[in-house]
């Protein structure tokens, strides 16, 4: 019967996509090995301490950058405000590891900054102390610079949502602007700020490229080391499970605070307060506040990449570069299409059969975005290897043939990992789009003789076109940037732009890596422009487009 087919299909696909997460938890329940005990005795405390410090540091850092800029561009008026509104999102286009490479190139001993200092003051190596960028504070700074736009986006939306009435009431009660910000604006925006900070902290915990390059021992680098250096899958999983506990705590924080944001949602029709006009000294201060993160988060690193690429591109852009770009391009577009189809299937299936079982399955498939790429890759690798082994031994027993590796080390494994990791990105867009389509549309199409599948093709997909395109582009860029899972799961001798950037940078050939990095950054600007268009649409001083 048709009813059960949808339920089965959707639940099955969703649970399959949740497999890596489940694998990690179940493997982690196995008894501790010697390696694990060794870890506990030696480096585990470091991992925890570094990861937690990084997480907290990045959280505070993004708040310090994101909240003032969001408040200034959302509520105030100053020179360049309109321009900053979207430009402040640009750092999102740069992956954290590329940020780390450019700043290392700029700030290390041989870099232009220190060279300039030495030449200007005629110093030699012993004469001065320059803070090392390749350190935990350095990593914190890099991550904060690329991640603050998350906080900025959510905080800005929260500030814009606050109704004029509340602010006017407080004014009529004689509260000045500064106290108003502290006692009303900030507390009202708190759920959004917590949600943004939790997201950012999840990303910080998931980072591999930056901390690895800076030599900071965190969970993710630890997992890599235990898995490939000590060859202990179970211990790696136990580390991964511990990391996931942190991540899920953040996830719960995020969810809870998101739920609260709904209570603060004010009537759309209420009048927005007029912008606070800053003048003189204050307006310059505001411009500077917005300019600094933009410069440090985008202009300087992108400029450095351009300078390097200018120098090295003639040697680096050859047929191999094109081959890698081709790999990246089709891998990203192929997985984006696949992931979008899966998201449509799950989103629509959930709409068709809103049962607790289906909902739970789809929710668990959505966990992937909280799972660091390293962990996810291992969660894919283990079950695939197990399947390969058992198929191999079975065929050898019955047919005397060895099938070797069927799944692991193939593009299929990579696509599967990408799907598990980035499905939620697409699912979020699809679900948001679907909720905007009234259920009576489905009913109308059904009563006009269309079967559920035809309804999807004839009504939902055409109506969702723009959200689907957005989702496609977001996933495309996410896959293009993805580093750790690709490193672990890619087929032998299969390379992508991100992996090549990483390899060259690891060989200290920073300038050579610039062309590859620049290609990734350029691709990443696309979705940023999309996002900025979306936020300019809610700009209060314009009537909403209807």
């Amino acid at each position: 019967m048709g009813i059960e087919r949808w339920t089965l299909l959707v639940t099955g696909v969703a649970l399959l996509l949740a497999l890596p997460v489940f694998t990690v938890f179940f493997t982690a329940l196995q008894p501790a090995s010697d390696v694990w005990r060794h870890l506990v005795d030696t480096v585990l405390a470091d991992y925890v301490l570094n990861s937690v410090t990084l997480m907290l540091g990045v959280g505070v850092g993004t708040l310090l950058i994101g909240v003032p800029t969001a408040w200034l561009t959302g509520v105030c008026e100053f020179p360049g405000r309109r321009w900053f509104e979207w430009a402040l999102l640009l750092p999102m286009a740069i992956p954290a590891y590329i940020m780390a490479y450019t700043y290392t190139g700029l700030l290390d001993f041989a870099g232009p900054v220190q060279t300039l200092l030495r030449e200007t003051f005629d110093w030699s190596r012993q004469d001065y102390r320059f803070p090392a960028i390749r350190s935990l504070p350095g990593a914190t700074l890099m991550l904060a610079l690329v991640l603050y736009p998350y906080v900025y986006l959510l905080a800005r939306a929260a500030f814009l949502e606050q109704s004029a009435a509340v602010l006017e009431v407080s004014r009529s009660l004689g509260v000045g602007p500064w106290r108003r910000f502290l006692t009303i604006t900030l507390p009202l925006a708190r759920p959004a700020l917590i949600a943004g900070m939790s997201l950012v902290q999840m990303e910080a915990l998931a980072d591999y490229g930056t901390v690895q390059y800076f030599g900071v021992s965190t969970f993710t680098t630890g997992i890599f080391r235990v898995w490939f250096g000590m060859n202990d899958a179970t211990a790696a999983m136990q580390l991964a499970a511990l990391l996931l506990l942190f991540v899920f705590t953040l996830l719960v924080c995020e969810r809870l605070s998101r739920r609260q944001t709904r209570f603060h949602h004010t009537d759309q029709r209420t009048q927005r307060p007029p912008r606070l006009r800053l003048s003189g000294r204050w307006s310059w201060l505001a411009t500077a506040t917005c300019l600094i993160p933009l410069l440090c988060g985008f202009v300087i690193p992108a400029g450095q990449l351009l300078v390097w690429a200018w120098r090295t591109a003639p040697q680096m852009i050859d047929h191999r570069f094109l081959e890698l770009a081709g790999h990246s391009l089709w891998l990203a577009s192929g997985s984006a299409l696949l992931i979008l189809s899966l998201a449509l299937l799950l989103g629509y299936g959930q709409r068709l059969r809103p049962r607790p079982l289906v909902r739970l399955a789809v929710r668990s498939a959505g966990l992937g975005y909280a799972v660091p790429g390293t962990v996810l890759a291992i969660g894919v690798m283990l079950p695939f290897a197990a399947i390969d082994r058992s198929v191999d031994s079975w065929t050898r027993e019955w047919f005397g043939l060895s099938t070797g590796l069927l799944l692991s080390g193939t593009l299929f494994a990579l696509l599967f990992a990408y799907s598990a990791r980035f499905l939620p990105v697409a699912l979020h867009s699809v679900e948001a789009g679907l909720t905007r389509i009234r259920p009576s549309m489905d009913d109308a199409a059904r009563s006009l003789g269309s079967r559920p599948r035809a309804v999807l093709w004839r009504v939902h997909i055409p109506m969702l076109r723009s959200s689907l395109l957005t989702a496609l582009l977001l996933v495309f860029v996410d896959v293009l940037k993805e580093l750790p899972a690709t490193l672990i799961l890619r087929p032998f001798n299969f390379n992508t732009l991100a992996v090549r950037t990483y390899e060259l940078a690891s060989d200290e050939r920073l300038a050579d890596s610039a062309s590859f990095a620049l290609a990734i950054v350029l691709a990443g600007i696309g979705p940023v422009i999309l996002l900025s268009r979306a936020i300019s649409r809610v700009r209060p001083d314009h009537a909403p487009l209807s």
């Binding site: 048709g2 009576s440 009913d443 199409a445 009563s447 006009l448 003789g449 269309s450």
Partner: protein, 362 residues
Amino acid sequence: MLPFLELCDLNVAYPPRKVIRGLSLQMPCVGIGCLLGPSGCGKTTLLRAIAGFEPLRQGSIRLEGIELSRVGWMQPPEQRRIGMMFQDLALFPHLTVTDNIAFGLRGWKAPERRARVNELLRLVELEEFAKRYPHQLSGGQQQRVALARALAPRPRLLLLDEPFSSLDVTLREDLAREVRTILLREGAGGLLVSHDQFEAFAFADEIGVLDEGRLRQWDNAYNLYHRPADRFVASFIGQGVLLPGQIGVDGRASTELGDIDGTPPAGCAAGDDVEILVRPDDVIHDDASPLKAEVAERAFRGAEFLYTLHLPSGARVLCLAPSHHDHPPGRRIGIRLNIDHVVMFRRNWSVTCIESPPVSKP
């Protein structure tokens, strides 16, 4: 002959709430009906059950003798050939008027499809809007597109879920009458859901009054008004009050406003307390009458005044008087009773005075 539409002992529930309870209904032949009731009475749910969107807990639904739904099984909505017009119209925003109307004609050959679409465009008088998109049309035009779209695949029955409720009152009745004409011309049955009695009167031959998931009465408009089956129908349809009285030895009911002829409710004997439904048009303002009542409130209605009057006992009645009879509150005026259709209920402890809700909300 098999009845056109037959609902047998239906139960529909959104657990834990029972929405439709043991409802039975027959439309003997292709005709136009209406389910009327206050919001939350389950009328939309009933419509959705007929369309095939809600499963049954009990009972069955048949159309032209063929079972559509029973417990544990329902024919998918796309196979029922039952059209539906939705409250929000649900026009497909990405399709033009033509494509919206042609949506349900997928299996048809191109020339036939084109002919059918043109026929409907003519029928709803939207030929020059064929290439527009729904958002470029006015509310009334959108209603017509929704109607044409629902009628295009020649449904056996058209269900209408308050599709006119977003229009203002006068337009609403006009459109209801217009849709009625179109349905009759197309030879399709119709079933409207509404909370507005005037819309129902304008649209339907037969009207079912629903309350809390139960069908109170299934009858034509005249009978619903003049021969309500119970207190709920009496209060829901039209305005009026229940005036206390007592059955006398002669079988007539004696009230404060005089003795009234009429059939007492079954099982009533002399001396029993009853209530008589008194409509505002049953109370005639007559200065010569010895019966006096005090004006408590007056509402100007243009051609007439609606007076709320206090009788000496404290009971209240409503009275419609021509608007040149202007009496301020507190004045005592003469009235007499002139009831054509006497409706009597056995006296109930709880309700002694009822008034219908406001006539209709825009």
